[in-house]
Subunit: 146 residues, 2 copies
Amino acid sequence: MNELFTDDYFMRKALDEAHYALEKDEVPIGAIIVSNNKIIAKGHNLTETLTDVTAHAEMQAITSAANYLGGKYLKNCTLYVTLEPCTMCAGALYWSQISKVVIAAKDEKRGFLSNGIKLHPKTEIQFGVLENECSEILIEFFKSKR
Amino acid sequence: MNELFTDDYFMRKALDEAHYALEKDEVPIGAIIVSNNKIIAKGHNLTETLTDVTAHAEMQAITSAANYLGGKYLKNCTLYVTLEPCTMCAGALYWSQISKVVIAAKDEKRGFLSNGIKLHPKTEIQFGVLENECSEILIEFFKSKR
């Protein structure tokens, strides 16, 4: 991997997306999709803004990446996401056959792994990139809501 | 339940949606959402047309119903769907807290129940309405593709 285009670099872009969600008072979760070191899709949680439970960061990034590629399978693509995807997003990732998913923070309650859900056999999973920073923004958000 | 507005009546409307998918050479699956005996949302599978793995019938119906209601929770709503929802759609139904899901045909391979996925505790599940007709259209579709 090029020194510039590290996992940290791309996860920071996903974290930027989480900050855009925060600005809209949304649960701050962000995602980007990278192909050949190029960001081809971005998304942040918009469930409140769009009053739509399906408007998770990952769902928007998946739709957007497929639109960019002109095909529904996300071959040679990597999703960077600030929080472990939920059941819905894991289901969408399964259908997309995405090559790799890089996750910052774990979600013990709603995360797909805790719920025994598998991604596509073609999909590599990596955890822990910028975990603390991506968790922190969520912890601060929920603290402010109490 | 009013004699007119039976489960069979509404599932037939979902099956009409499956036929619209078939006309577009899509896997023929349809869904509608009903609130107080009124159809408030319709959807049919458009994954090929939109080159988007998230464009399942149920996903579109969920988004459309929330849009109609002006809120993201589908209280007092029933989804009628011609095939057992997949993991992604079950995850979306979970977030929607929909009151009831009526399913025609089972999907032993990709269906959420076979994969041990639970809907929201508030959601009632019913199986078998127009099962044969809703299965038949799928069987014929896949036969024609062989």
